[in-house]
Amino acid sequence: MTPGAAKQADFPGAGALRETGRLCALGLDVLVSIFRRPFQTREFIQQCWFIASVTILPTALVAIPFGAVIALQLGTLIVQLGAQSFTGAASVLAIIQQAAPLVTALLVAGAGGSAICADIGSRTIREEIDAMAVLGVSPVQRLIVPRVLAAMLVAVLLNGLVSVVGVMGGYFFTVVLQGGTPGAYLSSFSALAQLPDLWVSELKALVFGFIAGVVAAYRGLHPKGGPKGVGDAVNQAVVITFLLLFFVNFVLTAVYLQAVPAKGS
C-alpha cells in the first residue's frame, strides 16, 4: 500500500467491531434526525400502516397460544408449589413483562424489519439512495427516520394488543380449562402486579422497535454486491435483531428488577 493511504485496522474481529460502530453511528444519526425539520408525516403514516398491516394478524395469532402456554405451564408449577391463589398474578406478570414485548419485537423484526430491509436494500442497489443524497436530501431523515419511528409506534401498540390478548388467553385457560376461580385470578392480579410493570413493558417494546428499525435500515443501506446481497441482508437483519433483542431484554429486565421494588415485598 502506498504511504499515506487510509489504513484500516486489521486484526481478528476488526470487521465485526467496525460494523457495530457503523450501526451505532446510524442509530445516533437517526436519533438526531428525528428532531430535524421537515418531518416526513406522510411517509411515517404510510409506514405505520404498512408495518401494522403485516404484523397485527400474526401477532394476535401468536399471542393467544403464547398466553395459553404460560398459563398452563405456570398453572401446573404453581399448583405443585401449593400457591394456586397466585396463578393469575404470575401469568399476568410473565405475559406483560416478558412475553408481550418479546413477541411484539420478534414480529416487528421478523415481519416489519425484513420488509423495511428489503425495501431499503433494493433502493440501495438501484442507486435511489445515492440519487437522493446527491439531490441534497438526507436519506436517513427522509426514509429511515419515518420507518424507525413507525416500527417503534407499532411495537408499542402491538405490545398493548399482546398484553390484552395474552391476559385474556391466560384467564380463559386458568379459569375455564384448569378450573381456577375467577375471583382468585383477579385479586392475585391486583395483589402482585403494579403499574410500572406495564410501563416497563411498553418501554421495552419502544426500545425493541427502535433496534429492529435501525438494524433493518442499516443492513438495507449496506447490502454486499447486488440483488443477492439484499436477500442475505434481510436474513442477517432478522438474525442480528433477534440476538440484540434478547440481550437488551436481559439487560432491561435486570435493571428493572433492581430499580423497582416488587409489590408486596
Binding site: T2, G4, A133, V134, G136
Partner: protein
C-alpha cells in the same frame, strides 16, 4: 457562470483493489468535459467520489471553496445542491411516477407553488422527449426513457455543475445526437460546468471542450479536446478507433504474448475490428442551436487554450489553429503551417471542373504510392 471543480491527487481503492491513483484535473467553469475509459476503469467510481458518495483514500475535490472529501455532512449536502447528476441507470425513485420524480428536487428545495412546479417539470420532460409519459412508473418505461427522465430530474434545479454517467448508453444514435445537442444548448443557456462519462466516440469527438481518459488506474491525459484527439498514445488511438490491437484487452490489461498473438493474426489478414479510417483528428464541435446565446464557456476556453498553445503538442496546436476563423487567427496572431483543410476544395462548378481536369498528379507522386 458554472462552478469550477479542482481535483488534486485523488486516489481510490476498494480493499486491496486500487481503482485509480493521483488523479489531478480541473473542470474549468462553464466548459464541457468528457471522460473516456474502457469499461471497468472506475469512471463511475470517479463521479461518485466527486460528489462524496464514495470516500477516496486521499486527495481533494474542491467546489466553490468546499473540499468534498473532508467537509462536514451538512456542508456536503449544501454543496450537492449545486450538482445535477445523471446516474448510469437513471436511478429514478421506483415508487414515484416520472412527474413526481422530476418534481422531487423542486418540492424539496424550493418553495414554488404546484402550478409553477408543473410548468417546470413539463418543460423538462418535453426537453427530454418524454411528454405523455409523465404518469408512468420507472418500471414501465424503457431503459433509454429512464435515462432521459434521470437527465430531466438532474436539470430541474438549473445546476451549476452537471455530471452525466454514460448519458448515451441505452440510447439509439439519433437520440444520442439530440442529447449531445441538448447538452450543448444547456451549456449555452445556463453556462453550467458539465462532465460527461462515456464510451461514445462520436460524442467525445464532437461535444466537449476538454477530453480526458482513464486507463490502467491512472488519468492518461486530460486537456483541450484537440490534444487527445490528435494524440499518438497507443491506448488513445486504440480506444478512439475501437480496435483490438493495442494495450487495452478484454480484461483491463494485456500481456505481451497476447499482443504479439493478436498482431500475428492481423498480419495474417484477420480483421482487427476497427473501421476503415482513423477516427483521430480534430472535427468541428457542435454549436448551440441557432437563436440561443453564444457559449460563454467556449469563449473563455479559447482564450485559455491560446495562452497555453505553445505548451501543447504539435498536432494539437495545428488542430486548434485550423479550427479558428480567420478573424480569430488574426486576433491571436497565429498562422497555420499546414495547407488549408480538404473541405475548402468544395466549391462552385468551375473550380470543380478544373480540379477534375487536373487530378493532382503531384500529390500521388508525393505520397509515394
Amino acid at each position: 457562470m458554472g462552478a469550477e471543480v479542482v481535483i488534486e491527487g485523488l486516489t481510490k481503492s476498494f480493499g486491496n483493489q486500487a481503482i485509480w491513483r493521483d488523479v489531478t484535473l480541473s473542470l474549468p467553469p462553464g466548459e464541457v468535459s468528457v471522460m473516456l475509459g474502457p469499461s471497468g476503469t472506475g469512471k463511475s467510481v470517479f463521479l461518485k467520489s466527486m460528489i462524496g458518495l464514495l470516500k477516496p483514500d486521499r486527495g481533494s475535490c474542491v467546489v466553490n471553496g468546499v473540499d468534498i472529501v473532508t467537509c462536514s455532512e451538512a456542508k456536503l449536502y449544501e454543496t450537492r445542491k449545486l450538482f445535477g447528476v445523471l446516474f448510469q441507470d437513471g436511478a429514478l425513485f421506483g415508487s414515484m411516477d416520472l412527474y413526481d420524480n422530476v418534481a422531487f428536487p423542486l418540492r424539496e428545495h424550493t418553495k414554488k407553488s404546484e402550478t409553477e412546479i408543473k410548468r417546470i417539470v413539463l418543460e423538462k420532460l418535453e426537453l427530454t422527449g418524454l411528454q405523455g409519459a409523465e404518469h408512468k412508473l420507472p418500471g414501465e418505461i424503457s431503459g433509454g426513457m429512464r435515462k432521459r427522465a434521470g437527465l430531466a430530474r438532474a436539470l430541474v434545479l438549473d445546476p451549476e455543475i452537471i455530471l452525466c454517467d454514460e448519458p448515451d448508453s441505452g440510447l439509439d444514435p439519433v437520440r444520442t445526437a439530440y442529447l449531445s445537442q441538448l447538452l450543448i444548448d444547456l451549456n449555452a443557456q445556463i453556462d453550467a460546468t458539465i462532465l460527461i462519462v462515456t464510451h461514445n466516440i462520436n460524442l467525445a469527438r464532437t461535444v466537449p471542450d476538454n477530453l480526458g481518459m482513464l486507463f490502467r488506474k491512472e488519468l492518461v491525459m486530460f486537456g483541450p479536446r484537440e490534444v487527445l484527439l490528435t494524440s499518438d498514445e497507443p491506448v488513445v488511438e486504440q480506444f478512439l478507433n475501437g480496435r483490438r490491437i493495442g494495450p487495452i484487452g478484454m480484461s483491463e490489461e494485456k500481456d505481451a504474448a497476447q499482443m504479439a498473438a493478436e498482431q500475428a493474426h492481423v498480419d495474417a489478414g484477420h480483421h482487427d475490428g476497427s473501421g476503415a479510417e482513423d477516427l483521430r483528428g480534430v472535427v468541428p464541435q457542435i454549436e448551440p442551436t441557432p437563436g440561443l446565446p453564444e457559449r460563454q464557456g467556449a469563449r473563455r476556453r479559447k482564450d485559455r487554450v491560446m495562452q497555453i498553445l505553445h505548451t501543447l503538442p504539435e498536432a494539437a496546436r495545428e488542430g486548434i489553429i485550423d479550427s479558428l476563423t480567420d478573424a480569430e487567427r488574426a486576433r491571436y496572431n497565429v498562422r497555420s503551417h499546414r495547407r488549408p483543410p480538404a473541405a475548402s476544395f468544395r466549391g462552385s462548378l468551375h473550380e470543380t471542373q478544373e480540379i477534375a481536369r487536373l487530378p493532382r498528379q503531384d500529390w500521388r507522386g508525393a505520397s509515394g504510392r
